[in-house]
């Protein structure tokens, strides 16, 4: 493929991507009145983030054991009200340590 083709592809994909992100923000300025739609949109983020996490999180770290422990640490810390940075860093550290141990002890 030559550069001209690649550039056309990148620009077209970029436009589609941008429109998906931007149009709902611009065209849905007012408050939605319908109670069902309101409720639906209220629950959407939790449902989307959950289905993005499960089950993908368990294959995100190169090992099911480290991923599971990282996942449990994240859930536990989030449950006790820790912020994003603490949750993200702690689970990364746990995953890193477990991965190192796994490599060392070959489990």
């Amino acid at each position: 493929m030559n550069y001209q083709q690649l550039l056309v592809i990148i620009f077209i994909v970029a436009i589609v991507m941008y429109l998906m992100r931007m149009l709902p923000l611009v065209f849905c300025k007012g408050k939605i009145k319908n109670r069902f739609l309101q409720s639906f949109l209220f629950y959407v983020p939790y449902a989307v983030l959950t289905s993005m996490t499960i089950p993908e999180v368990f294959s995100s770290t190169g090992g099911v054991i480290s991923a599971t422990l990282g996942f449990l640490v994240a859930v536990g810390l989030a449950y006790f009200g820790q912020g994003l940075l603490v949750v993200a860093l702690s689970s990364t550290v746990v995953v890193f340590v477990v991965n190192q141990l796994a490599a060392f002890f070959k489990f």
């Binding site: 941008y18 998906m20 611009v26 983030l49 990364t92």
Partner: protein
């Protein structure tokens, strides 16, 4: 006299700060993309341009795969990015109900470019309406991190120890977890919507027949729509009192 109520809402500075964990999570993803694109013999400027314009991890990998496969039909590219990132339409719609109604069209068009899952996950933790200045503050570090991570991936394929990059794979998921657990503790309906999504996602992802026809992008959409519709039917939210 300053309006304390408006000033109390987080602004640009708080946004910058809240963008830091997101930026941290983007480094390894952008890095991985830089490495993958370089291995696919993309030149640095093209890889960086792709990252700068698309600004979507999952989408960029999907498009890179198609290019490597030699796909020439443009519609296939458009359809792929649509399917992989279809959730953005839902998230942006939900977002539209949470951001400051006074945010101008131009501001929305500009912010729309930088809107990502992770930004959304962090922003919705704000109580009440989200200010434009907070949103723009949040976009700064993640986008810089995305650009820098991509370049570093292109230039120094071996500079970040692989063990660290691999461990950081959990960062986006840890952020999603940190976003959904605290509200789930306080609200039974949210808790049940999450439980339904977990069950649906596991059932759909782990049924080989379904996994064969549906991409991960569609499965996320189906889970989210079904769980949210059931949630909306079973637990309609109280109509919010009109803002005075």
């Amino acid at each position: 006299m300053e309006n304390t109520e408006v000033n109390a809402a987080p602004g640009f500075k708080e946004g910058l700060k809240d963008g830091i964990p997101i930026a941290l999570g983007y480094l390894p993803i952008a890095f991985a993309f830089g490495v993958a694109a370089t291995k696919a013999r993309f030149l640095l400027w093209l890889t960086e341009l792709m990252g700068a314009l698309l600004y979507t991890g999952s989408g960029q990998f999907a498009i890179l795969n198609l290019i490597q496969g030699g796909e020439t039909v443009l519609f296939t590219y458009a359809l792929t990015i649509f399917v992989v990132n279809c959730r953005y339409i839902l998230l942006s719609l939900s977002f539209s109900q949470r951001i400051d109604p006074n945010m101008s069209t131009l501001q929305r068009m500009l912010f729309g470019f930088f809107n990502t899952d992770e930004l959304f996950a962090v922003a919705i933790q704000q109580k009440g309406k989200i200010k434009a200045s907070y949103l723009f503050g949040m976009t700064v570090f993640p986008y810089i991190s995305w650009l820098v991570g991509t370049i570093v991936g292109c230039l120094f394929t071996n500079i970040m120890p692989m063990s660290v990059a691999v461990a950081m794979g959990i960062v986006p998921f840890a952020m999603y977890i940190a976003t959904i657990i605290p509200p789930a503790r306080k609200s039974k309906p949210i808790f049940w919507v999450i439980v339904m999504s977990v069950i649906l996602s596991i059932v759909l992802e782990c049924t080989p027949f379904i996994r064969g026809i549906l991409s991960a992008g569609w499965i996320i959409i189906i889970c989210a729509v079904v769980a949210s519709v059931i949630g909306a039917i079973m637990f309609p939210i109280d109509e919010e009192e009109d803002d005075k």
